[in-house]
Subunit: 208 residues, 2 copies
DNA sequence: AAGTATATTGAATAATTACTCGGATTTTCT
DNA sequence: AGAAAATCCGAGTAATTATTCAATATACTT
């Protein structure tokens, strides 16, 4: 399992799907690629397979995407957008009903559980299989920082050293829920129990 | 960026390096592959490049390795062995001088910091770039479980629910030190400060 | 030194796969 | 309907790269 062949040449003037038929084609391509990625993983993802599974020809694929990477960009973009929506919702929840630091922690952990419960197979492929570009890493990193900042703000009037605490809280909540829900490490106890325990641990720390 | 081509055919009776000249060849191949991996990443790693960098021919490479994957297996194996050694040392340290749960936590975090400080570029390539096989994942998972068990044992007479606590402690210590030392997420504070904070957080939890 | 086992070589092979292009088909417009 | 624009097709091209093999060279043994 390894690397392929990005043949970057003189760009073809990629069409931009004006008719609805074309929009449907674009959509079906993205869906096929997403399905392949989550069902069979990165190694099984190639342009010919995507086209076949989408029921279109490779030619059509290259009519709307300059290269294979561009398809992946869209998939990642949509995935991260879903994450963004969850974050926005979380921020709202915090503002609405988080009176204590423990409340903030609980919402944070619950948020990450939700984030990692949605389409876990795709999530897994995206985070473990697919080699992300520098720009894509930056995008992911930006999301992380946004969550940290929001958390720090929520904690600002409740605890000491909110910025540092927010970093640990977010990184821990993310890493552990990811590990338990996405990677299948064999945990002897359920994910719910672990999430509860995680809230306890982080709550203790937040209040310290 | 992607996947290559594992051409698995009828095994050739891979030679097993009887003369010292041959042993040196095997060694130089492994070293070249390791260097390429940590300097240029998984995408740059191919058998022709490995051979050139090692100063031998591809033919020689295939004399001692049935396929490309086998080279990677050796690299991962050696890397994990170093980890095993660190764990053994850590277990000894705990037995020698850990009287409180906080002592155990401190040693655990310090151990992970050490683990992730050694050859971080290789570590990074191995954990982020290289697609591991099922068997390799199992091997990594086994190391994790061993650390958890050792930690649980060390905590057994010191805290309540040592098994569950050990899981959280180990997964957290691993994930966060990895994130800070291996991935280069832009942290505003130093890795040492973060490690200290991590010890605080985990100590609070262990004692709870 | 001759003979045999072990090592090394690298050009050639073959499989994979990103991407192109000339032409066919369908939709839109007048 | 007829023309033009948009879309679609898929066999073919080219680049990459894992792997083989027949020939050559070096090291051991007697």
């Amino acid at each position: 399992m390894t690397s392929s062949t990005p043949r970057q040449g003189a760009r073809k003037p990629v069409r931009s799907a004006k008719q609805k038929r074309a929009k449907a084609t674009v959509e079906v391509i993205i869906e096929a690629a997403t399905r392949i990625l989550s069902d069979q993983g990165w190694d099984a993802l190639n342009t010919n397979t995507i086209a076949r599974r989408a029921g279109v020809s490779v030619g059509s694929l290259y009519e709307y995407f300059p290269n294979k990477q561009a398809i992946l960009d869209v998939i990642l973009d949509r995935h991260l957008s879903k994450g963004d929506a969850l974050i926005a919702q979380g921020a709202k929840d915090v503002q609405a009903g988080a009176t204590t630091a423990q409340d903030v922690v609980d919402l944070l952990v619950s948020g990450f559980v939700r984030l990692h419960s949605d389409d876990p197979k795709l999530h897994r492929a995206l985070s473990a299989d697919v080699p992300l570009s520098k720009a894509q890493h930056r995008r992911v990193e930006a999301v992380r920082e946004r969550i940290i900042d929001l958390t720090a703000a929520a904690l600002a009037d409740k605890v000491s050293a909110p910025a540092m605490k927010a970093t640990l809280l977010v990184d821990t909540a993310d890493a552990l829920t990811h590990k338990w829900l996405i990677d299948d490490v064999g945990t002897p106890v359920s994910a719910e129990t672990l999430a509860q325990e995680l809230k306890t641990m982080l709550g203790l720390y937040a209040l310290a």
